[in-house]
């Protein structure tokens, strides 16, 4: 069945990149776009009225912790009265043996909420960068029910972090846990990659650069290559990590990862804030941005999470000028990609003292095309014949937005995830007039 979305501002994809058609048309049939741009002369079976809306490729959110971001955002909040674990220097670490993960039913409840929340705010693909282990069969069913594309896997590490009774952070190695974790991750990918009608895909997740030893990182990258899946780790995420890696390897986290062959075009790095480019590292040697650009690795930039801690990337403009592929994630609450683009744009200007930095074009590209490289999915992030029918319709012409000439600028500067009206993934309408449709017919309740 051919469906035409008509009357809105269409973000089509041409030879040079995205281009906007006022009063444009997108036509999709089954799970693929057949036309995106101006008028469509062919016959269609159904029509969707998009007047007053931006018709955009769905956003690719490159950083979500489905259990954590649904609840522990408060613990990572900006005013946390615990300097050493305020996610500024480190991240929260419990007393050893005292932390129990949430019960499986609570994890399932949070995951379902997060999947739906992300979808409603315009994400059609999310990268689940790990967290609490879960029941994967339940997770696959939830993904199929909600209808969102998810890249996921069990995260693993061979160094755990704890605080002692005086509040001092320490690391404890457990090589066997790392080895088993990697085996489970590979087994998960073999079993679940392509599950949920192709919506669930695997990704290798060695947790953080400082919670994984060099052998584990090398082994993880090797497995990812064998399984032909992307790999993600958190790196350059906080100053404690930066200093720990420097102490252990006499290299920055980025240089270390580059040297062990971890970085390439199938690698996604979470954050990469603390690099040689960031003045707080006070590290005058080397050029992490050049290493990143040469490797082709993608940086998943999460501006809002970091600005809550008074930290900004230094800077989006520098990273783009260096040729680093940039994507956008949330890693916090809300999982609102529209607002995240605004944060990325505005903070880029402040970072460089340059009001022309953080262009709407660049942040929109990061939120759409930016997630495609490391996924090796050039049918996502764009609306063009042959691309996947992952489409977001966002209300623009209303009191909250006002008059505009450029809908992309209007979206980035005035829009919000709450303006998302309709979300289509794989040609199925999942959110319509802001309410979720039962996309797959499986009733979880």
């Amino acid at each position: 069945m051919k469906t035409a979305i008509e009357g809105g501002w269409v973000v089509a994809f041409g030879k040079e990149g995205h281009e906007v058609f006022q009063n444009g048309t997108v036509v999709y049939e089954n799970d693929r776009v057949v036309h995106a741009g101006g008028e469509f002369a062919g016959e269609v079976d159904a029509r969707i009225d998009a007047r007053g809306m931006l018709v955009s490729p769905g956003f690719i959110n490159t950083h979500i912790h489905p259990v954590g971001n649904g609840g522990d955002y408060l613990l990572m909040d900006n005013i946390k009265n615990d300097y050493r674990t305020a996610n500024y220097l480190s991240f929260s670490a419990p007393l050893k043996g005292k932390f129990a993960p949430p019960a499986p039913e609570n994890m399932a409840a949070l995951r379902l909420f997060v999947l739906l929340h992300a979808l409603r705010h315009g994400s059609t693909t999310i990268i689940d960068v790990g967290g609490f282990p879960g029941e994967w069969e339940t997770y696959a069913r939830q993904i199929e029910s909600v209808g969102l594309r998810v890249y996921a896997g069990p995260a693993f590490r061979d160094r755990n972090t704890f605080t002692d009774e005086q509040g001092r952070i320490y690391y404890e190695e457990n090589a066997e846990a790392g080895r088993q974790g990697l085996e489970k991750a590979a087994a998960f990918i073999r079993e679940f990659d392509g599950a949920a009608d192709g919506l669930l895909r695997g990704i290798m997740l060695p947790a953080q650069v400082e919670t994984c030893t060099e052998p584990l990182l090398r082994a993880a990258k090797e497995q990812a290559q064998k399984l032909d899946v992307p790999v993600h780790t958190h790196a350059g995420g906080n100053l404690l990590e930066f200093q720990r890696i420097l102490q252990e390897y006499r290299k920055t986290p980025i240089a270390f990862l580059a040297d062990i062959g971890f970085l390439d075009s199938r690698t996604l790095l979470g954050h990469a804030v603390f690099t040689t480019a960031h003045p707080w590292t006070l590290y005058p040697f080397g050029d992490d941005l050049r290493l990143l650009a040469e490797s082709g690795a993608t940086v998943g930039h999460c501006p809002y999470k970091y600005v809550k801690m008074a930290i900004i990337l230094r800077s989006l403009e520098q990273y783009l000028q260096a040729g680093i592929p940039m994507a956008i994630g949330t890693d916090s609450y809300p999982m609102d990609m529209v607002s995240e683009m605004r944060w990325a744009s505005m903070l880029a200007k402040v970072a460089d003292g340059n009001y022309q930095a953080g262009r709407p074009r660049d942040v929109f590209n990061a939120a759409t095309l930016g997630g495609c490289g490391f996924l090796a999915r050039d049918e996502l992030g764009r609306l063009a014949p042959g691309s996947k029918a992952d489409i977001v319709m966002i209300r623009l012409e209303h009191m909250g937005t006002g008059a505009f000439r450029d809908p992309i600028k209007a979206l980035v500067e005035y829009g919000a995830g709450r303006d998302v009206d309709t979300v289509i993934v794989n040609g199925k309408t999942l959110i319509k007039r802001r309410g979720h449709q039962l996309g797959r017919g499986k009733n979880l309740q």
Partner: protein
């Protein structure tokens, strides 16, 4: 999907998680001492559903 039910169940799951924080926090702090609310909150504690 019953979004209200999904939201309420997520809120209940999170409140259980927050209630457990003093058990693993090194100083036994609860959430409200770690992250004080913006203004005093009167009435039912942390109930938004």
């Amino acid at each position: 999907m019953d979004e209200e039910k999904i939201y309420n169940e997520a809120c209940r799951a999170v409140e259980g998680y927050w209630a457990n924080v003093p058990n693993w926090h090194w100083a036994g702090q609860d959430v409200d001492s770690m992250i004080p609310p913006a203004f005093p909150i009167h009435g039912a504690a942390a109930a938004n559903h």
